[in-house]
Amino acid sequence: MLLVRSSHARFGWRLRLLGGNAALTIGALIVLGWLVVALTAPLIAPYDPIFQDATARLQSPGWLHPFGTDNFGRDVFARVLWGARIDLQISFLGVIFPFMIGASVGAIAGYFGGVVDMLLMRIIDIVLAFPFLVLMLAIIAILGPGLSSFYIAMALVGWISYARLVRSQVLVLKHADFAVAARSLGFGHMRIMGRHLLPNAILGSVVFSMSDAVLVLLNGAAISYLGLGVQPPVAEWGIMVAEGQGFITTAWWITAFPGIAIVSLAMGFSFLADGLGEWLGVRE
């Protein structure tokens, strides 16, 4: 995508990348970088992320342990690399389910309108009436701690933003000439919704999903921090921050490096959201 769009002039691609859409380029590079790290973690990590070396506890960053070690003697660098697998998974699965549920609900509500719309919108109002985090914590508390509970909770709570976005788009688009044309040509409701309205209505949601990924990532980290998400000793950035906080004055590296990882991935998504928005011509 990045190279294809910009390869026609000799020095064109370089200029295009930075001058054309810097946010998209930087965002994509950061996220792609973490993806590569996640995929190759077993190959590039110098240590086993849960191996405890009792002889090397709380080592400060150095040649042997670039990011130092934690209070159990685990290598922080290896744990940050392995953590990318979990955290990318969290941001992907935590977004895709709400996206799909929300887009379908929004499309149906916007397209059919009337009673269907009213009913679905009231459900959204009910979900909205509870504070986001409280509702999520309650659901996780009922289902029991763990990542799958977190995904279910995200899906149950997170879809409303997508539903509202897609619904408002569909409400506008269904009166556009091409949608009326589709009706005049005798197409069925599912075809009009799926093939004509949705592909045009979800652009805004795609952009939003990138900034949503940031929130999900931070939520996932927060939930793990509270002990309701990923369980120790699995390497996950949120847990690492939580576990390291007792040592923040004596061994800052235990919290700092996973913290930096969270922030950089979040920034990557956020740049990607900006860049995609510009690229697709969507204004949020």
């Binding site: 000439d177 091409f178 009326v180 044309a181 005049s184 040509l185 005798g186 197409f187 045009n200």
Partner: protein
């Protein structure tokens, strides 16, 4: 309905069709007001015939077109298409209507899904209606594109890379894919350049001759209507005020509104100055229809009785109908 063609049943028979919208009121938001967009319209179209519907904005001409194809709501009246009242259509009646009619829109870009290629857009119609076997879709798309004067290679392109005229031709090709017996063209050249308008009008004339498709041509441009249409209906604020053979209506309009519309056409003639008999004011809001003949507040000939309800009915003289009290058919 039509005096000269009594032997043949019309393809489309619109009887007393009304479309009303409920609009939230001005000062009292809970008190909804009724907007009468189309008000008791009776018209008919025979197979292969071209009917022009002209009027200013707010005359209800587009609403009428959409209601006839059941793309918009209708409040009362009948729409007999090949004998079936589509106002009370069952789903299978509607499916039949869709297979026999098509619409061409004003904005050529907006009428095409921006994410589908030209080939996909036209092919979709062929597939949904099973017009040709799946293997022949591509060939038929090429054939349709050539029929509207486009290169078959355009099938791979998306609308955003094409000109307005090309997009309008694609809209027409897509309409033809249905193999319709009736096409409603809603201001289909208004958004195009002058030099391209003529190309599209010629295409419509050609298709009509080759395929015998009936056409309802909704437009505000009277000069184009005169060139294209067999009959013309003039609408003002939701009512048909005059209807008849195009040549007759243009040569001897019987309703003062038609006459002033004709006077206002800017013709290319450097020696013909702007008409001094200008119609005053703007058309009133359809939310607030004047009593009696809706045209009387702007009419130079209006008398006291013109402001009395009910509005004057359409009266026939030969093939030519008009709804003016001062016009005495004998």
């Amino acid at each position: 309905m039509n005096a000269t063609k009594t032997n043949r049943k019309p393809l489309l028979d619109i009887e007393d069709l009304s479309v009303e919208f409920k609009v939230a009121g001005g000062l009292v938001p809970w008190k909804r007001r009724v907007l009468r967009a189309v008000n008791g319209v009776t018209l008919s179209v025979h197979a292969g015939e071209t009917l022009g519907i002209v009027g200013e904005s707010g005359s209800g001409k587009s609403t009428l077109g959409r209601a006839v194809l059941r793309l918009g709501e209708l409040t009362a009246g009948k729409v007999l298409f090949e004998g079936t009242d589509m106002a009370k259509a069952t789903p299978s009646d509607l499916a039949r209507l869709r297979r026999a009619t098509a619409m061409i829109f004003q904005d050529p870009y907006n009428a095409l899904n921006p994410r589908l290629t030209v080939g996909e857009a036209i092919g979709e119609v062929l597939r949904v209606h099973r017009k040709v076997p799946a293997g022949d879709v591509k060939a038929r798309v090429s054939e349709l594109l050539q029929m509207v004067g486009l290169a078959p290679e355009l099938a791979a392109r998306k609308p955003s890379g094409l000109s307005g005229g090309q997009c309008q031709r694609i809209g027409i090709a897509r309409a033809l894919a249905v193999e319709p017996r009736l096409i409603i063209a809603d201001e289909c050249v208004a958004a195009l350049d002058v030099s391209v308008q003529g190309q599209i009008i010629n295409l419509l004339i050609e298709l009509r001759e080759r395929m015998g498709v009936a056409l309802i041509f909704i437009a505000h441009d009277l000069a184009l209507v005169r060139r294209l249409c067999d009959r013309v209906a003039v609408m003002y604020l939701g009512r048909v005020v005059e209807e008849g053979p195009t040549a007759e209506v243009f040569a001897a309009p019987r309703h003062p509104y038609t006459a002033s519309l004709l006077r206002a056409i800017p013709e290319i003639d450097p020696d013909r100055p702007l008409s001094s008999e200008l119609l005053p004011g703007d058309p009133p809001s359809p939310l607030n229809l004047p009593r009696g003949c809706a045209f009387h507040p702007r009419c130079a000939l209006a008398e006291a009785r013109c402001a009395e309800d009910p509005p004057p009915p359409l009266r026939r003289r030969g093939d030519h109908l008009s709804a003016c009290l001062l016009d005495n058919p004998t």
